[in-house]
């Protein structure tokens, strides 16, 4: 976990340029879940921490292995689950935003090649501040939901 976070920070700093005092956004707990049998679309979860003094939001997420990436959220309304485009991804100074099962999630659509367990997926997370965090994580078969329980 620590190693991974350092990696994210290093990449962020490189993307932001050396004139920046340091990276202000970190990504952790990234999970890329392999598509279910018979499905091409997969889903990603992650937690984003904003240690800057400014509010930021996610502008978009791209990845070279996917034709399309969309940000969605599952909304529970009176016990009924509906999927809809993510309404907001605002992260207050010092705050966090989590993509997690049953809530906001990242839809990885139209993969250019097979998304199989163990394969490394790269995602570029673009923020309103102009920062871009490059995330790399292996594909797993199942989402780690035990931690959230």
């Amino acid at each position: 976990m620590t190693k991974r976070r350092y990696y994210y920070l290093a990449v962020t700093l490189a993307m932001a340029g050396c004139s920046e005092p340091g990276p202000s956004i970190a990504v952790s707990s990234t999970q890329i879940v392999a598509p279910a049998p018979g499905r091409a679309a997969s889903v990603a979860y992650m937690t984003i921490s904003n240690s800057s003094d400014d509010t930021v939001s996610i502008r978009k997420i791209e990845g070279p292995q996917f034709e399309r990436i969309e940000l969605h959220e599952t909304v529970l309304d009176d016990g009924i689950a509906r999927m809809q485009p993510l309404r907001t991804s605002i992260i207050a100074p010092g705050g966090e935003f989590s993509f997690k099962p049953g809530g906001p999630h990242i839809m990885l659509l139209e993969p250019t090649s097979g998304i199989v367990p163990g394969k490394i997926v790269t995602l570029h997370v673009h923020f309103s501040s102009g920062e871009i965090v490059i995330v790399q994580a292996p594909v797993s078969t199942r989402v780690s939901i035990v931690k959230d329980n």
């Binding site: 879940v33 279910a36 049998p37 018979g38 499905r39 679309a41 997969s42 889903v43 969605h72 599952t74 529970l76 016990g79 009924i80 689950a81 509906r82 999927m83 099962p101 049953g102 999630h105 839809m107 199942r142 989402v143 939901i145 035990v146 329980n149």
Partner: protein
Amino acid sequence: MLVLLLILAATSGWILSQSLVGNDGRTQYAVRLPQPISLPDFSLVDQDGQPFGPGRLVGRWTWMFFGFTHCPDICPATLQLLSLARQKLLESNPDGAIPDILLISVDPDRDTPELLQKYTAHFGDGVFGATGETVELQKLTSKLGIYFEKQESASENYSVAHSAHVIVIDDGGHYAAVFSAPHTVDAFVVDFPVLSASK
């Protein structure tokens, strides 16, 4: 003296057993129906293409979840959670009641038995699937208070809004209790032994 010791031992054992299943049969998370409800007659098809009606639910406890295989988030997360809870129950009390997990697909246009077979197998042992014509699904869902509705979309990647409850069917094939979303593994691990022990 021996008789007194035997009575004490028996009493202690009873107290311990009651504490393990909830001393008064009360659940912490699930809502138990005052009286189990018989299921209506419905006719679906299981993941092997075989007829699936209410008779197939007699003889084993079942956790019934309504969803669809194109659902990217809450359906696989719920099925995985149920599978984990089932595994924990198996490990903690292999001789106790262990439920089947049944995904009823509310997307019969896309979810063929073949696809359901592959999909449910992905979540491990004890996970099965069934679907059927909308009118047959509605016979079941209306009795259980389950809602589902196709969300119109210009593309083929439409979604289906659906209730996220997990319905507990007892081994008599009756609707006995319901777990409301959001779900946790612990809720099922804690409450299911209470439900099955105090039927």
